[in-house]
Symmetry: C2
Subunit: 338 residues, 2 copies
């Protein structure tokens, strides 16, 4: 293990000053080609690697953006992360992916780490609707963009209209003639979930059906395991009162429900139609391909990153914007009997 070389060593070897070395690294056009080559050679010979900590200390701000999501296990978020990372890369920024796991404490922990790192900016799908820590961070001058979460005009956000998504899903089920429908999702404190539910209720009213036609089953989490559990609860109901369709707040839940139905030989969609949400890759590969509400996840990530960059670069003239995408219903076998 050799002592790592610094700019000073490079400068010495190349016979120039440290300032010149720095210029070769950051403003190559300012230094004469001959000198530049000499410096570059010295860098290669010494195996010099720039110390990002020192650069950052001087710059006062890092080149890293934090992306805090609710669940890395959910392909929706990894797709979104893909969009973020691509756009970030195009602007010379790197991304650190943080998983809050829908836990406010972990979210807070990640946020403080990001602040200590003087993150360039933060993209976050917050656990709670009201997160004072976020305002504090923005108050300190770090741009923050809310992702998959609509918001007031006081901050930038990127989202998909969850009410419309809920309406699309519900209207589709009503259209197929279902009279007893269950909404499966939770915790309801998650905004996306409650909005989708609101949309579903709206569709119910629009169709002139009584509110009792929709039963809400609140789950503890939005993953496959919770779906399986809920599936069992539903399958246990007597066929007469059992819902004939479920609208799940995301695809993981839907896949869990579907899995239980398959195991317990409840025909889908014959006895139970299922609609999911997100249209992840696995939705179409499921036991019965899932009808699902598609969200433009990668575009969402891209738009969020672009907003963040705008807020960072034009900090004074920046106008907060709320970008809202439209979801799209993808109909598959889980709601359409052959």
């Amino acid at each position: 293990m050799i002592e790592p070389a610094g700019v000073i060593d490079v400068a010495e070897r190349a016979g120039v000053s440290v300032g010149t070395v720095s210029n070769v690294l950051n403003h190559p056009e300012r230094v004469a080609p001959a000198t530049r080559d000499r410096v570059l050679r010295a860098i290669a010979e010494l195996g010099f690697v720039r110390n990002e900590a020192a650069r950052q200390l001087r710059a006062g701000r890092s080149r890293t953006v934090g992306l805090v999501v609710l669940d890395v296990g959910n392909p929706f978020f990894t797709d979104l992360a893909g969009g973020v990372e691509k756009t970030a890369g195009d602007h010379g920024l790197s991304v650190v992916l943080c998983n809050s796991g829908d836990d406010a404490e972990r979210e807070e922990h990640h946020l403080s780490l990001l602040q200590e790192q003087r993150a360039f900016g933060i993209l976050i799908t917050p656990v709670a609707t009201k997160t004072p820590a976020i305002d504090v961070i923005r108050g300190r001058g770090t741009p923050v963009v809310l992702v998959d979460h609509s918001s007031s005009a006081r901050q930038c956000s990127v989202s998909v209209n969850d009410q419309i998504g809920g309406e699309l899903a519900m209207a589709h089920l009503i259209d197929k003639g279902h009279q007893r429908i269950a909404f499966v999702g939770g915790p309801l404190s998650i905004k996306q979930v409650s909005e989708r539910l609101t949309g579903a209720r709206k569709a119910l009213r629009a169709a002139g059906m009584r509110p009792g036609a929709l039963t809400v089953v609140e789950t503890r989490a939005l993953n496959v395991a919770a779906g399986r559990q809920t599936g069992d609860a539903i399958a246990d109901l007597p066929a007469k009162t059992r819902p004939t369709a479920v609208f799940c707040a995301n695809d993981l839940l839907a896949l869990g429900v579907l899995q239980t139905m398959t195991r317990r030989r409840v025909p889908v969609p014959g006895e139970l139609a299922i609609v999911g949400y997100d249209d992840i890759d696995f939705a179409s590969a499921a036991a019965v391909p899932l009808t699902s509400v598609r969200q433009p996840s990668a575009q969402l990530g891209q738009a969020a990153m672009e907003l963040l960059i705008d807020e960072a670069r034009a900090s004074h003239s920046h106008q907060h914007r709320q970008v809202v995408f439209e979801p799209e219903l993808i109909v598959r076998e889980s709601t359409t009997p052959d």
Copy 2:
């Protein structure tokens, strides 16, 4: 946007020296309780946030470990990342997740960023078997642990025995009476893929079958799309020469193949049995629940992180170790006709 406060401001406000402030932050036991409280109050009042860059500059090394994986879209890797992150968190380290996407160039890019950040250590599933950059990094004193990749004694690694996994899968198919089997996976340059193939061939020999019984279909990638494509190619073959079983190098491929078969009404496992690899959550939720080779992904991550910490803390007395886990075959409907 207020000027952010530094240790100096805090010291001034609390009426102590900067050294004491630093001690409150890093060695609270060294400072008298009364003083400590005064400093903590000043910190709260000023909204002081430690500057990680400066701390790092002084320390010479960061508290971040890099985890470079082949595909964040693959749940196997996100599960693995979960294990890594948990273990890292327990030791006060944070993790940055980097996606190489099986592209050597992106891998290299991530590695240089990690070096510039003076990463505490690096966990990597390398794209190529031979990656000189890794040796250079280790030579500079940064611990590196290979993940899901066995290796020579000259470095730490954590892996699951892929040959045995291949053998298990293949032996199972042979046991079910299949005589024409396809191996689907690629690029074969990925070690995990070629090892699984080697294991499959071994099982073939052990069963006394001719090598021609196994056809190798090399894919461009290990994702659902590649699986769908291969599925079409297989389904296009005349029933007489078509394999009666496929062993896919991972579950994403298997799900893709399965999806095509379902769409094209080729009965699974009736006309085509399918075995996957990794046993991701979605494998059991598939159209036909997938038989798959389970890997202890989270444990893998945990073990890798522990090895890394050992290498970092006991750098001189450290003995490189190769931890190898055993995979396990999970049999489901995709290979067992009712």
